[in-house]
Subunit: 201 residues, 2 copies
Amino acid sequence: MQTSPLLEALIESLRCLPGVGPKSAQRMAYHLLQRNRNGGMDLARALTAAMSQIGHCEHCRTFTEEDVCSICNNPRRQNSGLLCIVEQPADIQAIEQTGQFSGRYFVLMGHLSPIDGIGPREIGLDKLQKRLQTEKFVEVILATNPTIEGDVTANYIAELCMQAGIKVSRIAHGIPVGGELEMVDGTTLSHSFLGRREINN
Amino acid sequence: MQTSPLLEALIESLRCLPGVGPKSAQRMAYHLLQRNRNGGMDLARALTAAMSQIGHCEHCRTFTEEDVCSICNNPRRQNSGLLCIVEQPADIQAIEQTGQFSGRYFVLMGHLSPIDGIGPREIGLDKLQKRLQTEKFVEVILATNPTIEGDVTANYIAELCMQAGIKVSRIAHGIPVGGELEMVDGTTLSHSFLGRREINN
């Protein structure tokens, strides 16, 4: 029995966060009330602003509150002629942190999954196809997840690119750097053999 | 580089929650944006209401949006003559779940800690002393944490109760039920010996 309905409501609401169960939610609520009410109010404002104002970029479909995101608007990236296809906006963040890629992105917001009613239209492939035809891309890099659905999606998009006469590639799958061979699963290991590269002097 | 300042602000704000680091905050933000915007808005409303409206009960100092909390207002609990002293509002919740106690509470919102400038006034002992004099308590049960500060605080309050001529007790410390003797630390084990009870037929 809680002594406060508002506190009970807060604990219940905190459970919408992933990985937060009843105990963590209670701990969070008490922590904010006892030690950081300003932080709680800031969080409420940030949540309201983000949930109501963040939409999708017209070009790449990632999260942004503008019509076109800062990456798509960047002229240097427009000139690179590279397009990287990812499943989620979080994947962009991960790729940007490597500093290896300076082209543009296209976010599918999912992957093909006919059983769940997710076809090419639902992951924005009509929009992608239009971009492939109207913009000049030198290469499309497929960075969907190495899962069955991700691979199927990559194959489907590869077809579209080849029809449009654009070079298409898939990011490499193999042993993670720093990993140990004996710890890696068989599928990854066979991928790393299939994807071996000749060493040239 | 995030494509959205609002998203960045949300990730930063989520870190005010205890146990939430940069990676979890990012996961939470993307989860809400992609799958549960309504949940995010509900959470914002619950946070605003709780942070701005929840205060402390006039009698027991626990969290409540009323002047007096539902436990202090309950006539059955007023008649029991029992008062349990705890450090945090969360402790009330834990004790209520046992169903063992049907008296009233007093929440210190901390413990005595002279180094941090927390003296008797800061943990509301002036208020407690007034209650001990004006209300008729049969017994005061000290349920502060079994830490050095909790013990010191308990001893201090025990003095106050004895001065007021009220029976005072400390909750038992010993082996947790379901625990194993060999796994328990020495201090707990010696507490359980000191606190042994005679078995009567």
